[in-house]
């Protein structure tokens, strides 16, 4: 980053660099690094408080990224495909926290598909980013479950199995915020990230993030060239934080639609497709399937439903985080023990 940005501070007095952590050790040109930059940039712009957010990941190239941002926030680089359960425990233990999780297509669609879907059923307050490149990078080029049918790779040969569509899986699992983007479109990634951070439950961002080393043949749907040529954007996005006055005039009123997020902030969708309504689950599924048949991938906010409460809302916990409750709240009295033991006599 240039020196101008490193000296500028945000509303809570933190500099851009305060949201960074270690330098990336991923391959030069990796799409994941671009996503990391957008995470840092959005957190800086929104003045996220580092102690109110945790960063999580599983295992793989993508999951290494958790070490590259939010150096002032606690985090956990967990086990392969198990970020959802560890994150669930942490967010129930302290429901004042929210999480940004980075995972990959192997971590989410292969080994972690079960935990991914059950996380979405439970609906924790987490932005779940899948840095999706269709390939196992860290073990040098095996197919993941999102690889294209019929795709050929030098190491792995031909893939004979249909890909898992993580946006489809997310919608079916009851997720209330499902978006897809492309790491080569930083503007859209940023706007989706901002909106996702305002969502009360789990927000899934499936970001096609080409692997420059093992999966960048131009005919792969996870390549830069393919992404640039074939991404069909559902809408132009503009996220408006709750503290800003919403200036709907900026957009052509006939073509924009505003979605209010639970904290009062808004996401303005400028529609390219006049008929697309992201709150219509059936339309979202239909759109994904149509795009698949046409060999396209659609980007933007595919589905939103803010009705479902998060797990911690369902649990209706005491306000103090469970992790910070004092002994007086955790250990009932000796009288309480006497009384309960009497019922066993």
């Amino acid at each position: 980053m240039n020196s101008k940005q490193s000296t500028r501070v945000n509303e809570i007095g933190l500099a851009y660099s305060d949201y960074r952590d270690l330098p990336s050790s991923l391959c030069k040109g990796c799409g994941h690094d671009s996503i990391t930059s957008q995470i840092i940039s959005v957190a800086f712009e929104l003045s996220l408080k580092p102690h109110e957010i945790i960063r999580l990941s599983g295992i793989g190239c993508s999951s290494k990224a958790a070490a590259y941002f939010f150096g002032r926030s606690h985090g956990f680089n967990s086990l392969h495909g198990r970020m959802p359960s560890l994150g669930t425990g942490a967010l129930v233990a302290n429901h004042h926290l929210s999480a940004i999780g980075v995972s990959g297509d192997g971590d989410t669609a292969s080994i972690g598909l079960g935990q991914f879907k059950h996380l979405l059923r439970r609906n924790l307050r987490m932005v779940y980013i899948v840095e999706n490149n269709g390939v196992f990078g860290l073990t040098k080029g095996q197919f993941s479950a999102t690889a294209d049918l019929g795709q050929e790779l030098k190491y792995a040969g031909r893939n004979e199995f249909p890909p898992q569509d993580l946006c489809m899986e997310a919608i079916i699992s009851g997720c209330g915020f499902v978006a897809r983007s492309f790491s080569g479109d930083p503007q859209q990634v940023r706007e989706l990230l901002k909106a996702a951070l305002s969502h009360r439950g789990t927000a899934v961002l499936d970001i096609i993030s080409p692997c420059v080393t093992f999966n960048n043949a131009s005919d792969s749907t996870k390549s830069y060239k393919w992404g640039k040529d074939n991404a069909e954007s559902l809408q132009d996005l503009h996220y408006v934080p709750v503290r800003e006055e919403i200036s709907i005039e900026e957009f052509n009123p006939g073509q924009s639609r505003s979605v209010e997020l639970h904290d009062g902030s808004q996401i303005l969708l400028q529609k390219l497709d006049q008929n697309y309504d992201p709150s219509d689950r059936l339309m979202a599924i239909n759109h994904l399937e149509t795009a698949r048949q046409k060999g396209e991938f659609i980007t933007g906010l595919i589905y939103i439903n803010q009705e479902r409460p998060s797990l911690t809302e369902v649990l209706d916990l005491v306000d103090t985080p469970l992790s910070l409750l004092p002994e007086g709240k955790l250990r009932p009295s000796s009288k309480a023990l006497q009384d309960i033991l009497d019922s066993y006599k």
Binding site: D18, D21, L22, P50, H51, E52, I54, A67, F70, G71, R72, S73, H74, G75, F76, N77, S78, L79, R82, P84, S85, L86, G87, T88, G89, A90, L91, V92, A93, N94, H96, L97, G114, Q115, H118, R122, L311, L315, D316, L317, V318, D319, P321, L322, S323, L324, L325, E327, K329, L330, R331, P332, S334, A336, L337, Q338, I340, L341, Y344, K345
Partner: protein, 592 residues
């Protein structure tokens, strides 16, 4: 034959017989007679044979006995074997409608007109099965001399708040009780008489006691996946937590119970919550431990507190889900790949289930590592007598956690060993100090918690973990030792074999053979173990698994003493009897 015999009720599972059996057990308990029970049940919901043993022992012996003297035969399908298993001079109570039932001349048989009672009372449908169980409650109470008032009180305890059910059941008990009184001539010596042994005592399962202990230990998150025989522990939590852990000010819970999609996820949540600073636990059995291995290994290496109850059942594989064992000792002690060691606690009584229920959280947080509490089906699911549990004497030990202020003063390095005990300091998410943040990881790390592939970093970290394990030896519950003068033989055991070992020792003592006893309550071994082993000519290591797993661990830890250790290990899914232990002792000590 007063207050010293066993009753076995043979019935069909799913018929409601457990209710009837618990009422019998409680009636005897209320008469002040020391009682214990074994529920030998199938892995099935309805229709398979089940046996419930109640042992009365004026000396307070609680171990399993192979054959009961009193048979309540309410399952025609198993009657042939059940009758054959009765010792000579035993008695049998059965319905009178089994016209083709076998007989034994050396057994006294009583019959009751179950069908007639049900018909006369107008009982139909599924209530027939439930109420036919109440017939044997009334009939056996009359035959053995169980006070009717005690039976009524037990019925009242069981059907508290359900007046019409109480009346229905009590009336059937009464019909049978009085019919037997009027129509049956007692011809056997088995009788009960009131005693004064049970004042203030509880009647409770190990699983319930464990749940209570966890609640008084401040459990804040319990996540789990259903599995026999651990399910009852979480069921008890779900019943007791709303009674004990609602915040008075807000009226809201200070806990969360989450049913996970599998055991991987269950322990994942526990590790996540433990890392975030909450007291978190799960309960499972052997197959679940296998699935939890991956996260347990992370917990060991990333140094995250967690409490895992392993209510053991017989394995390997699915094994017998409703039969007991102590078969997970070796695998759990070394759980995980690479160099790995776990803290194991071995409760032997329901009181210890309570004590370890809260104590395990202290240990896990002090040591920042998963702690496994090795219960089993026998201890966890059977109903035991106990003195009331003692309220925790010490405040909670939350371990080395740095606040914002402390980080300001002394800084923070996640894996630095400042005190030389191998235990590092940690900070919790939510801490506002910028230096408090760190990224937990299962990958190699330096003392600051940053990823490192340097050989020295790896080695130093693993050496510190070894040091931490040495510290654990001083923190875990000490063994319980009983060393009578002149004892030449010693026993060493752990967990639920306690009643059988105690009874075997008492029987040896009756023959003027005193014996020592060390009951291990935790792994790793404390230094007292060596002292104990050195003191005896021979030490019998008693355990309920095929391979003698504790015997192997002792032999590894004390190779110089291994020659004097004799393994008494077996497992067929049933608890040890004192006789089985004595048999093995006599093989090795023929002069006894």
């Amino acid at each position: 034959m007063v207050n010293n015999f066993s009753i076995v009720v043979a019935s069909t599972n799913g018929s409601g017989s457990l209710t009837a059996n618990l009422i019998l057990l409680r009636s005897l308990f209320l008469m002040g007679i020391p009682v214990s029970s074994k529920n030998i049940f199938p892995s099935n919901i309805q229709g398979l044979p089940t046996w419930y043993y109640i042992r009365l022992s004026s000396r307070g012996f609680e171990a399993h006995r192979k054959n009961a003297e009193v048979l309540v035969a309410f399952n025609r399908l198993t009657f042939g074997d059940d009758l054959a298993n009765l010792p000579s001079g035993g008695i049998c109570l059965r319905p009178d409608s089994w016209s083709d039932a076998p007989e034994r001349e050396d057994v006294i048989t009583y019959t009751v007109p179950v069908d007639a009672f049900l018909r006369d009372a107008g009982i139909r449908g599924k209530n027939r099965d439930y109420l036919s169980n109440m017939v044997y409650v009334g009939a056996i109470a009359q035959l053995l001399g169980i006070e009717f008032a005690a039976v009524e009180q037990s019925l009242g305890h069981h059907f508290e708040g359900k007046e019409s059910l109480y009346k229905l059941n009590a009336s059937m008990v009464s019909i049978a009780y009085h019919w037997v009184g009027d129509n049956t001539q007692k011809q056997d010596p088995f009788l009960v008489a009131p005693m004064d042994s049970n004042k203030d005592k509880l009647l409770i399962t190990g699983n319930e006691a464990a749940a209570l202990g966890a609640i008084f230990g401040g459990v804040s998150l319990a996540s789990w996946y259903p599995i026999t025989p651990a399910t009852g522990l979480i069921d008890a939590l779900s019943i007791l937590l709303p009674k004990l852990r609602i915040d008075e000010e807000s009226g809201k819970p200070t806990y969360a119970v989450i049913q996970a999609e599998d055991e991987l996820s269950a322990i994942g949540m526990v590790i996540g919550a433990g890392w975030a600073g909450a007291r978190a636990m799960t309960a499972t059995s052997g197959p679940g431990i296998s699935l939890m291995t991956e996260f347990a290994s992370l917990g060991y290496f990333a140094e995250v507190p967690a409490v895992i109850w392993d209510v053991q059942r017989i394995g390997p594989s699915t094994g017998l889900p409703t039969r007991t064992a102590q078969g997970d000792v070796m695998s759990t002690y070394f759980l995980g790949h690479g160099d790995s060691q776990s803290i194991l606690l071995f409760p032997a009584t329901v009181a210890e289930c309570f004590e370890f229920g809260y104590g395990a959280f202290d240990l896990a947080e002090e040591l920042q590592t998963p702690v496994f509490v090795m219960s089993d089906l026998d201890l966890g699911m059977n109903t035991w007598m106990s003195d009331p549990f003692e309220y925790p004497k010490q405040p909670m030990k939350r371990g080395k956690v740095l606040s914002e202020e402390e980080v300001s003063e002394v800084g923070f390095s996640r894996f630095a060993d400042l005190e030389g005990d191998g235990i590092p300091y940690r900070t919790l998410p939510g801490n506002r100090h910028p230096l408090s943040a760190y990224l937990g990881r299962g990958t190699g790390h330096n003392r600051d918690g940053k990823y490192s592939e340097k050989p020295a970093d790896w080695e130093q970290n693993m050496e510190r973990l070894t040091r931490k394990f040495e510290t654990a030896r001083e923190l875990v519950p000490k063994p319980i030792v009983d060393e009578p003068d002149q004892a030449r033989l010693g026993f060493l055991a752990y967990g639920s074999t306690l009643p059988a070992v105690e009874e075997a020792r008492a029987l040896l003592s009756d023959r003027s053979v005193p014996s020592g006893f060390m009951r291990i309550r935790a792994l790793p071994f404390m230094k007292q173990v060596r002292d104990y082993l050195e003191h005896y000519d021979r030490v019998f290591v008693v355990e309920l698994n095929r391979d003698g797993q504790m015997h192997m661990l002792l032999s590894m830890e004390y190779p110089d003493l291994a020659g004097k250790l004799i393994s008494i290990s077996r497992n067929d899914g049933l608890p040890f009897t004192a006789e089985q232990i004595l048999e093995q002792v006599q093989i090795n000590e023929p002069q006894i």
